[in-house]
């Protein structure tokens, strides 16, 4: 065995030809906070990968008159003044391949989950121009999140970019994780990009995804809070490069950026260190382009150009509900809608704490299935009227019967849309429950019993309204026969339900 290794090594050395040519090199002039200023390197390209003497990697970021501003992607403390820097001639790229599924990698595509190194045959550049107009298709296929309030009132389509925005601790990541969990069996690859998050939080998410069997179709890409800012800046681009690989295989991909406010902060840090001029809130002038070029890479491609799609769910954390700050307004204007989460609702017990009034989905409506569109149309109206009337009731004046009825309906709608974490509901079951609600079958159920009613009824419908459920699953819409069966099931259930009897 040992002689075999020696023999192999001997052959390798014998066949080795040192390819020595003139190299353009630079010298480190100064190095600080993850940034190095390098002189020389006269032919270096912007975004080109560089190698330092000790093997550390860097990216040429600022091309100035006599120096190059380099962001260092490894431990910068090992780089000394005067070290030589060589250009690699390559734009920064990351290894991609189906072996990444189920793994956690860092911004450079290196495994960080403690398992074996990842072997791939291909590498994708992390910066790429987004697909052009001709190659795109409009959004028409839904992404089922399994969250009732989203699937019904703010539907998301494949290829859409839907922002999840809200204060800290309002359940932004919970929505993202629930959506990943619900993609089981939906032919979707998920990429979860964690930007400057606590390692403990990432570990928790990974454990949750593993427990839900979701890691089989998920890749985690992470730059932790303890890693230097350049890696946090690069990691979303790494994530989308991986997503693009799967899209090029014709797959539908869901990518989550958790979160882009920290990404903007990392970019601000790099920019200020490179002495780029600060603008509003000290962010550099191109912070809009930073996010627009990233999110523009989400798309739905036509079959002629390989098919596949990338759906992006960026997350933005606001401070004290201020959505008019710089980064939130930027990302709101880039995306095709937002899911707005509120602290007040969260503490009122309305979870997911989605503010249905402020949340929109600009293109997702086209992707909603017909049956859901039918039930959700009246639901949205019920909720809007409820919100309006709720303000009036605060005055305590006498209300007429019609108004009272609307209020009661609204309260029940809010109750039905509440959902605990990690409990996604299938689309058919959502339609069944919302049908019962919007048709008024829940009007005589006490509000505190609504959740119980919903749960028991969904189980009952599974057994007794099979025709209705199959029709929705297969044709995306019910037929008269199915509807009659469901109506009968609702009535039967209501008479047999013990809580209703008393």
């Amino acid at each position: 065995m040992a002689s075999h290794i020696v023999e192999n090594l001997k052959r390798e050395i014998e066949n080795f030809k040192a390819d020595i040519k003139a190299e353009k090199v630079g010298k480190v002039v100064e190095v600080f906070d993850g940034i190095a200023k390098v002189s020389g390197l006269s032919e270096v390209k912007s975004q080109e990968m560089l190698k330092f003497e000790g093997g550390e990697a860097g990216v040429a970021f600022n091309l100035e008159e006599d120096t190059v501003g380099v962001i260092v992607l490894d431990d910068f403390s090992k780089i000394n003044e005067g070290d030589t820097v060589t250009a690699t001639g390559k734009i920064l790229e990351v290894p991609v391949g189906s072996t990444l599924l189920g793994r956690a990698v860092n911004a450079l595509g290196v495994a960080i989950d403690g398992a074996s190194p990842i072997k791939t045959d291909m590498a994708y550049p992390i910066e790429k121009i987004a697909p052009g107009v001709i190659t795109r298709l409009s959004v028409s296929e839904p992404v089922a999140t399994g969250i009732k309030v989203i699937d019904a009132t703010i539907p998301i389509g494949r290829g859409q970019r839907e922002l999840i925005i809200g204060d800290r601790q309002t359940g932004k990541t919970a929505i993202a994780v629930d959506t990943i969990l619900n993609q089981k069996g939906q032919d979707m690859i998920c990429v979860y990009v964690s930007i400057s998050q606590k390692d403990s939080k990432l570990r928790k998410i990974q454990a949750r995804l593993e427990a839900g069997g979701a890691m089989e179709y998920t890749v985690i890409v992470s730059a932790g809070a303890s890693e230097p800012a350049p890696l946090s800046y690069l990691v979303p681009y790494t994530g989308v490069a991986i997503a693009e690989y799967f899209m090029d295989q014709g797959k539908d991909v869901l990518i989550i950026y958790d979160d882009l406010s920290k990404h903007a902060i990392a970019y601000r840090e790099i920019s200020l260190l490179l002495r780029r001029p600060p603008g509003r809130e000290a962010y550099p002038g191109d912070v809009f382009y930073l996010h627009s070029r990233l999110l523009e890479r989400a798309c739905r491609r036509s079959k002629d150009y390989g098919g596949g799609s990338i759906t992006a769910l960026p997350i933005i954390e606001t401070q004290a509900g201020d959505i008019s700050a710089y980064i939130p307004t930027n990302v709101i204007s880039i995306t095709d809608g937002q899911i707005f989460l509120e602290t007040d609702l969260f503490y009122k017990g309305i979870r997911p704490a989605v503010n249905v009034g402020l949340s929109v989905s600009r293109v997702g409506g086209a992707a909603q299935i017909k049956a859901m569109k039918k039930v959700a149309g009246t639901l949205k109206l019920d909720l809007a009227q409820y919100r309006e009337l709720e303000a009036f009731t605060q005055f305590g004046s006498d209300l007429d019967d019609a108004t009272k009825k609307q209020l009661e309906r609204g309260k029940r709608a809010v109750e039905v849309l509440k959902q605990t974490q990690y409990s996604p509901v299938s689309l058919e079951n959502q339609v069944v429950v919302l049908y019962a609600l919007t048709q008024g079958y829940m009007d005589d159920v006490a509000i505190e019993k609504i959740k119980e009613f919903e749960e028991k009824f969904a189980e009952y419908a599974d057994r007794n309204a099979k025709k209705f459920l199959t029709q929705i699953r297969e044709n995306k819409m019910w037929e008269e026969s199915g509807e009659a069966e469901l109506k009968k099931a609702i009535q039967d259930f209501k008479t047999s339900w013990p809580a209703q009897k008393k």
Binding site: I13, F16, A18, D19, I20, K21, A22, K24, V25, E65
Partner: protein, 133 residues
């Protein structure tokens, strides 16, 4: 107004002094020193000088070569090297700096501006190590 860079200053100094001789040259030199003093640019003087040197080299079509070797070079070899470098860089003049570096093990290393041709054994071993990895 845009900030004046050291490169701009070096260029202007070169142009001012280019065709001057005798008293005109001394006067121009004095003016340059005054200008640097007035603008408080003495701290930048080493950098400006370096840039000026580069501009003069470019104008004279001269290149500066730093050659590192383990032992001092023989005159014969030096002559051949100058010929080869003149041909490669199409330069009229080669300004030589010799450097003894025993870490190279054997062979030579040229540095011309930011270009390096490393023909040392040390570099070959490094390349082999990278290849075997």
């Amino acid at each position: 107004m845009a900030k004046i860079s050291n490169q701009d200053i070096a260029k202007s100094i070169y142009r001012t002094l280019k065709d001057k001789t005798g008293s005109a040259y001394s006067l121009a030199l004095k003016n340059i020193v005054n200008f640097l003093a007035r603008r408080r640019l003495f701290s930048q003087a080493p950098d400006i000088l370096k840039k000026l040197e580069k501009i003069i080299d470019e104008e004279n079509n001269a290149i500066r070569v730093k050659i590192s070797s383990v032992k001092p070079l023989g005159t014969h070899l030096k002559h051949d090297l100058i010929k080869a470098l003149e041909r490669r860089y199409q330069a009229k003049e080669i300004i030589f700096t010799e450097n003894i570096d025993e870490k190279l093990i054997s062979g030579l290393k040229f540095e011309v501006g930011d270009e390096i041709v490393d023909l040392s054994i040390k570099n070959k071993i490094k390349k082999l190590a990278e290849h075997l990895q």
